[in-house]
């Protein structure tokens, strides 16, 4: 790669700066403060972007360091050539990272190019920024060599195209972390912790034997208690058995007593029964016989009662009275109804008559009223005529006056020459006057007819009334006739039966007759029925008495009772039934008792021959109580042992739990051991891998160390001017440089500033020589010789000449003495 041009817009103290570069050394000789370091930094930034974005120190943060005061955008461009092709790379930066821009153009066409990205430096040089700073960028203030990194090492060993060496650091870091995290020696290491846990579990597991022993011990104790329990149970059972024997004896005693009681009771009952049997007089009647006798006696009794209650013929007083009532014969119903009809007709006739009379009276009154009215009307008519005549006179007078006025007005109008219009009122007045005079004449004839018509009507009506009244009279007479005939019929009918007639009572008498007649008929038929009934009863009674006699015969009581003595018979039956019930009850009791005794004897077959205890019941009871107490005592003891066994059971549970816990711990320990072994194997593997990789790396680098040493020796001799002076130095596999002093190789970091700078310079160039076998990067020397001794300055020129043959150099210095061109 060859840098052709630098254009700085704004970057730190530099602004609007341009510079063309050529092959070989491009010297910038400017005073301090001009911005040489800034220019060098610009180039670094153009290839690698800004550094230290998150750093707060100005010196470590490119943005803070090179941003203009106004915090505006800053940057620029570079033009460079690679493999014959020219490019322009432009970068600008702002206040934030995202404000940064990068553009790559083909310098010929100025079209955008994608041949390189903003990782320009990595892509062009194949090394990262750090590596670039350690090699190509030689800052006089930081020229001292502090070793290489993997990228450089990888570049140094770039024969292989793999990234192994570059990834070695990361791999080594991983292994280191793994070994740290899982160390068996560090407390924080997992292997240490697992081992610790295993030991802790081991300590706990020592309790296992004791736990097992304890469990066995508890089991044995429980077993002993179980045996005690069995013993106690056996004792209790024996005691219970003895108790049962005692109870048995007592029971036998009681049973024998009971048997004797039962037998005595049976004997007593038997004698009572015999006595009862005798009370029946040798024959115990059957219940059915007694029931039949009772039924028959009751039938006779009931018959008697019924007979007494039945009415006898000839005993009905009412009938007798009716007979007397109808001694003159009993009218038929039709006759009675006919007379009632007559009477009703009479009532109607009377009503009619009354009505006629009322009519007649009304007519008469109307006639009188009409007469009065007539008189009034005539008087009024006379008065009206008089009035009318008076009115007519007045009207006539007015008429004359008006006519006169009219004539006068007319004459005046004619005589005196007034307005002709006055002829009209004159004519009108005259006309009205004439009409008034004529009006009475016209109306007199009509008015006189009115009063005359009304009275006529009244008179006509009077006449009619008179005729009507006459008609009513005739009707009345006829009605009276009819009424009389009706009444006569009824009277005759009643008197024929010696019933006194009176108009006021006639109706009642008729209805009474009617009702009595019906009653009489009814009573007659009742009497007939009664006769028949009495006869039937007589016959019935005889039959019932016969049946009763038969029943008495069956029970052998014909000598004792007559059939008519039903009450006595019933009493006797009631008494006998009671006795019979008592007898039957006693007999049943006796049978039950006999059965119970038999059952008792069957249940206790050996009772008769059972050994009677020589102990009294009281003594037996005492012994029983003592044994019961003993059984109780043993039961309590048994409960106590049960509780003890339960307690041991609980303890055993706890012991089993503990054993289980220990078993689980044992399993956990085994699992941990497995884990430990697996991890330990892994740890060992990683450890060995780490060691062998480290060795491989060292060997790998060492292979490429020789070219670096040779190159270093060459440069060192060039700068120092001393041939073979390179032999004073050693470079190890890690690219650490040692210088022989006082027979020993010592790390050059301890060297003086002047020599340190020379070494730094030479090793950097040596590394560059080995890293870039063909085309090398731009080498930026920022006043690298400022700290060197004057004796070395001549050598530095030769140095520069040599490197210029291979590299494009950008050389900054502030002193002519160190100028190369």
């Amino acid at each position: 790669m060859r840098l052709l041009r630098i254009n700085i817009e704004r970057f730190g103290t530099l602004s609007q700066f341009s510079m063309d570069l050529k092959e070989g050394v491009n010297e910038v000789l400017e005073e301090n403060g001009w911005g040489k370091s800034t220019l060098a930094a610009f180039l670094r930034v153009m290839f690698y972007g800004l550094e230290g974005a998150r750093k707060k120190e100005l010196s470590e943060n490119d943005r803070l360091k090179y941003q203009p005061w106004d915090q505006g955008p800053f940057g620029g461009s570079i033009e460079f050539e690679v493999n014959g092709k020219r490019y322009v790379a432009t970068r600008f930066f702002g206040q934030k990272e995202k404000d940064a821009t990068f553009r790559l153009q083909d310098a010929t066409t100025l079209l955008d190019s994608k041949d390189y990205s903003e990782r320009l430096g990595e892509e062009l040089f194949g090394i990262d920024r750090e590596s670039f700073e350690k090699t190509s960028f030689i800052d006089g203030d930081a020229i001292r060599y502090h070793g290489i990194n993997s990228a450089i090492g990888s570049k140094v060993g770039s024969i292989s195209q793999t990234d192994d060496l570059a990834n070695y650091d990361a791999a080594q870091e991983q292994m280191k972390d793994f070994l740290n995290a899982n160390s068996p020696k560090k407390r924080t290491g997992k292997l240490f912790q697992i081992e610790d846990s295993i030991k802790e579990l081991e300590r706990d597991l020592k309790k296992m034997d004791a736990a097992k022993e304890s469990t066995e011990g508890i089991k044995q104790l429980r077993e002993q208690e179980n045996e005690k329990l069995l013993q106690c149970k056996a004792e209790r059972e024996n005691a219970q058995k003895e108790l049962s024997g005692l109870l048995e004896k007592r029971k036998i005693l009681q049973d024998q007593k009971h048997k004797a009681e039962l037998e005595a009771a049976a004997v007593a009952r038997r004698s009572r029964l015999d006595a009862r049997q005798e009370s029946f007089g040798g024959h115990i009647p059957l219940r059915e016989e007694l029931q039949k006798l009772k039924a028959d006696a009751e039938a006779v009794r009931d018959h008697e009662i019924r007979s007494e209650g039945t009415a006898k013929p000839g005993e009905n007083e009412r009938l007798e009275r009716l007979k007397r009532y109808f001694r003159h014969g009993v009218p038929s119903e039709a006759e009675v109804l006919e007379q009632i009809g007559h009477w009703n007709s009479l009532q109607d006739g009377m009503q009619k008559r009354l009505h006629l009379e009322e009519q007649q009276e009304a007519e008469k009154q109307a006639m009188e009223a009409a007469e009065t009215e007539l008189k009034r009307l005539e008087a009024a008519a006379d008065l009206a005529v008089a009035e009318k005549k008076k009115a007519q006179s007045q009207k006539k007078l007015w008429g004359i006056l008006l006519l006169a006025a009219g004539i006068i007005l007319g004459l005046l109008t004619a005589v005196i020459p007034l307005n002709s219009i006055f002829w009209i009122p004159s004519g009108l007045l005259s006309l009205v006057g004439v009409l008034l005079m004529l009006l009475p004449v016209i109306s007199s004839g009509a008015k006189e007819d009115i009063p005359m018509g009304e009275t006529q009507v009244i008179r006509l009506r009077q006449k009619e009334r008179e005729e009507k009244i006459e008609g009513l009279k005739q009707t009345l007479r006829a009605q009276d006739e009819t009424n009389r005939a009706e009444e006569a019929s009824v009277r005759t009918f009643l008197e024929q039966r010696e019933i006194m007639y009176s108009r006021a009572d006639a109706e009642n008498l008729l209805y009474e007759l009617k009702n009595r007649r019906a009653e009489y008929q009814s009573l007659l038929s009742e009497e007939e029925e009664a006769k028949q009934k009495v006869q039937r009863l007589e016959e019935e009674g005889a039959a019932l008495r016969k049946a009763l006699e038969t029943s008495l015969q069956e029970v052998g009581l014909t000598q004792t009772f007559q059939p008519t003595q039903h009450a006595q018979i019933l009493d006797w039956i009631a008494q006998t039934l009671q006795n019979l019930a008592a007898y039957e009850s006693e007999k049943r009791e006796d049978e039950a008792a006999q059965k119970a005794l038999k059952a008792f004897l069957e249940e206790h077959p050996g009772l008769g021959s059972a050994e009677v205890s020589d102990l009294s019941e009281e003594r037996l009871k005492e012994q029983e109580e003592a044994l019961t107490a003993r059984v109780q005592e043993l039961s309590v003891k048994e409960s106590g042992i049960h509780e003890t066994i339960s307690a041991y059971g609980r303890s055993l549970d706890e012991a089993y739990d503990e054993l289980e816990r220990l078993r689980e711990e044992q399993e956990r320990q085994e699992a941990l051991k497995e884990e430990r072994d697996a991890l330990a194997a892994r740890y060992q593997l990683v450890e060995k891998t780490d060691a062998y990789l480290k060795a491989a790396k060292e060997g790998f680098i060492a292979r490429f160390m020789q070219p670096v040493k040779s190159a270093f020796d060459g440069y060192y001799e060039l700068v120092t001017g001393r041939l073979g002076s390179g032999a004073e130095f050693q470079i190890d596999a890690n690219m650490n440089i040692y210088r022989k002093e006082v027979g020993e190789f010592r790390d050059v970091e301890a060297q003086s500033e002047g020599l340190g700078e020379v070494i730094g310079l030479c090793i950097r160039m040596a590394l560059l020589d080995v890293m870039y076998e063909k085309e090398g990067p731009l080498v930026i020397l920022d006043d690298p010789f400022s700290g060197m001794d004057a004796k070395h300055l001549e050598g530095t020129k030769k140095f520069l000449e040599k490197v210029a043959g291979k590299y494009q150099i950008l050389y900054f210095t502030c002193h002519e003495s160190r100028g190369m061109v």
Binding site: Q174, Y656, L685, K688, Y692, A695, K697, R703
Partner: protein, 375 residues
């Protein structure tokens, strides 16, 4: 007459070694249910006795659920006789619990003690067999074999719980010296303690068998699990293994020599699982073996995730080794080449063995290629 020989059910095991809490609980329940299924199977098939040769439970103290389930399974099948020999894990927890809770043991539950106890079982078909057993401990172990006396005219089943050895040597209560049980008239020696089924000849007359556990509980109990179904006739006792486990545990050895990436590994595991007859109900541990290419990349986490839904439980372990072609690196001028050459030299001089060399090479190369994340 049919008899079931089972053992080592280890009911109420914690099972948390490989499984999370949820699945551990699930498997505990499944163990219990498998026992109940076994009893139902017996009832259904007309089995007359179930012989449990030890370790019915995993611990002396058991949960109420397990206790009740076993108790009721026995109680509700009065036609089935249960012969219960306690093992080293059982202790007397179950029996005591049942006595405490239910006051007495079911009548059809027959027990053994530390001396020989015999039961004669007469089958519905007229066949009969004598079942004799003893629970071994430190006190009786030296005397048991000598004190066993059987009526050789009868069919004899003897049951013990312990480790078979040809001759007694170690002072261990659970050792069963087989030689001492030969020619004693045993037709079938029903053993428990070893969790894999096994049937072998004992002597001219009889055989001995380990029923194995009824359900595998870990990857040391791989393969089909079940019980032995015995057919007892007048002349013989025949035994047939009946696989019965709800889930089978598999440890698959998967050759990943040709695999380059994790997906290849997944495919290899699937293929191996299919060939082995693994189902989605099973537990699988895949062990990667073989020599792989240097640049093969296997992410075990990815592989586990890819397959975890295909089985009830899945885990993978990598025991494969990278195949190192030293010649390939002979002229490799890179750091990697340098590294490999140094390791080769170390192997040649005996500082490293081949196995650790290949592991170191794989790790180193992957680290240099930034393809390894050490955790």
């Amino acid at each position: 007459m049919k008899i079931i020989h089972t053992a080592d059910l280890h009911l109420d095991s914690k099972l948390k070694r490989h499984l999370d809490d949820r699945r551990a609980k699930e498997r505990r329940d499944e163990l219990l249910l498998t026992f109940q299924r076994l009893v139902e199977y017996g009832a259904h098939e007309g089995v007359e006795a179930i012989l449990i040769a030890g370790d019915l439970f995993d611990a002396a103290k058991i949960s109420a659920t397990a206790r009740n389930a076993v108790y009721h399974a026995v109680k509700n099948h009065p036609d089935l006789q249960f012969f219960y020999l306690r093992g080293n894990h059982d202790a007397d927890g179950f029996l005591q619990d049942v006595k405490d809770r239910f006051e007495e043991l079911p009548e059809n539950l027959k027990l053994f003690s530390d001396t020989w106890t015999s039961y004669e079982l007469c089958g519905r078909d007229g066949a009969s067999v004598v079942i004799t057993g003893a629970e071994m401990n430190a006190e009786n172990k030296g005397k048991l074999a000598a004190s066993l006396l059987l009526d050789q005219a009868k069919r004899n089943i003897v049951t013990l719980h312990g480790q078979e050895v040809e001759t007694a040597g170690k002072k261990d209560a659970e050792i069963i010296p087989l030689r001492e049980y030969k020619n004693k008239g045993i037709d079938y020696l029903a053993l428990g303690h070893i969790h894999a089924p096994k049937l072998e000849k004992l002597d001219a007359r009889g055989v001995y068998a380990y029923a194995g556990c009824l359900e595998g509980r870990g990857f040391d109990e791989c393969g089909p699990r079940g019980f032995y179904l015995l057919e007892v006739s007048a002349d013989t006792i025949k035994a047939q293994f009946v696989p019965f486990a709800k889930r089978v545990t598999y440890e698959l050895s998967v050759d990943v020599s040709k695999a380059l990436v994790s997906d290849d590994v997944v495919a290899c595991i699937r293929k191996e699982a299919k060939a082995a007859g693994v189902t989605g109900e099973d537990l699988v541990k895949a062990v990667l073996v073989g020599e792989t290419e240097m640049d093969a990349e296997f992410d075990l986490g990815y592989v586990a995730k890819a397959l975890e839904e295909e089985f009830y439980f899945f885990k993978v372990k990598d025991q494969s080794r990278p195949k190192v072609d030293y010649e390939r690196f002979a002229l490799d001028a890179s750091l990697k080449g340098e590294y490999v050459r140094r390791i080769r030299e170390a192997v040649q001089v005996g500082e490293l063995n081949e196995e650790e060399a290949s592991e170191m090479i794989r790790l180193g190369v992957r680290l240099l290629a930034r393809e390894e994340k050490l955790s």
